[in-house]
Subunit: 163 residues, 2 copies
DNA sequence: GATTAATAGATGCATGTGCATGTATCTAAA
DNA sequence: TTTAGATACATGCACATGCATCTATTAATC
């Protein structure tokens, strides 16, 4: 190695892994304890609930952290569970339009009771004000530019940080 | 929900997941491209190389992000590959002392060429100076107190941040 | 010292994930 | 319009992970 990463770089890499693991494990454990599906399901349900007119599967794929084959299977399970419907896309016969069902909405609301509380207890209560914006900007800087899907959310968070 | 998480909290949660996924994927993809084992193997090899006199398996478990059964199997594979040896512990006949082999050291050194470069390109080059300490402290605040194993590393990173 | 609890580690099983590939459909170029 | 390539989604397979459980051994309690 011509140039070695410095201690701060190492700390970021180590902490990113540990923090993600610990926080994720807590989320999954609490959801499971409440006999609810995983956080990934919540994210899908919430994305579909916001999309009033349904959403193409490939669009959802680009917004989620699932890769295509994995999303395909997950959606299948959610359809089997009656949480989501899959209709042929009108404009493209290859495609499918996904819609959340009433059962899906009900489950999402139920999950939010746990999920939202976890966001408060595991994140909002823990990160000191002084480091919130550094954490947000620092994490954002690690993400490739093309991930622009989250710019809106990021900007509103930046606004909040300035208050 | 009595109280809703604010936008910054949401941003942290979303960004933590995306950043972790993207950075991890890049690491794994580059290691695979170089026909090298995963980053998790690097961490084990490095921990064992630092432990001059070998290391008990449960001690390694508490330092790594593996849970016990998974570490057990991973070590087995590494032993099969000749990277690590597993000797009965002298003081506790249940236990095993792990040691890295010369082949293991050679592989770790080879992996470092890729791994270290990735830390530079994916982290050090990307996080602006202004957000380094906020990112470190913010991530650290998400981790339960009992995770003290990393305090040393964290402190030296803090020192670096003050320069 | 016998019994009970706790710990170190291994193994079985169900599930999740990444990756390669398959099929159908759409788009574009010859 | 035929054909080559790209895109949407599904499927098969190898492997990783989480969780429950098993065995062997040590520590603690009576």
């Amino acid at each position: 190695m011509d140039k070695k990463p410095n201690d701060q770089t190492t700390a970021i890499w180590v902490l990113l892994n540990i923090a993600h693991k610990r926080v994720t494990q807590t989320f999954e454990a609490e959801l499971k304890r409440a006999r609810l599906p995983s956080a990934a399901w919540y994210d899908i349900l919430w994305a579909l609930e916001r999309a009033k007119d349904g959403m193409r599967q490939n669009q959802l794929e680009s917004q989620s952290l699932f890769d295509q084959p994995n999303l395909s299977r997950t959606i299948k399970r959610m359809v089997d569970d009656g949480l989501v419907t899959q209709c042929p896309a009108p404009s493209d016969r290859r495609g499918r339009v996904l819609r959340i069902t009433d059962d899906g909405k009900a489950l999402r609301a139920q999950m939010w009771e746990v999920y939202g509380r976890l966001m408060l207890s595991q994140i909002e209560d823990k990160v000191p004000d002084a480091h919130i914006s550094g954490l947000i900007e620092g994490l954002a800087s690690l993400i490739p530019e093309k991930d622009e899907k989250l710019q809106g959310k990021l900007n509103s968070a930046r606004d909040g940080a300035e208050n």
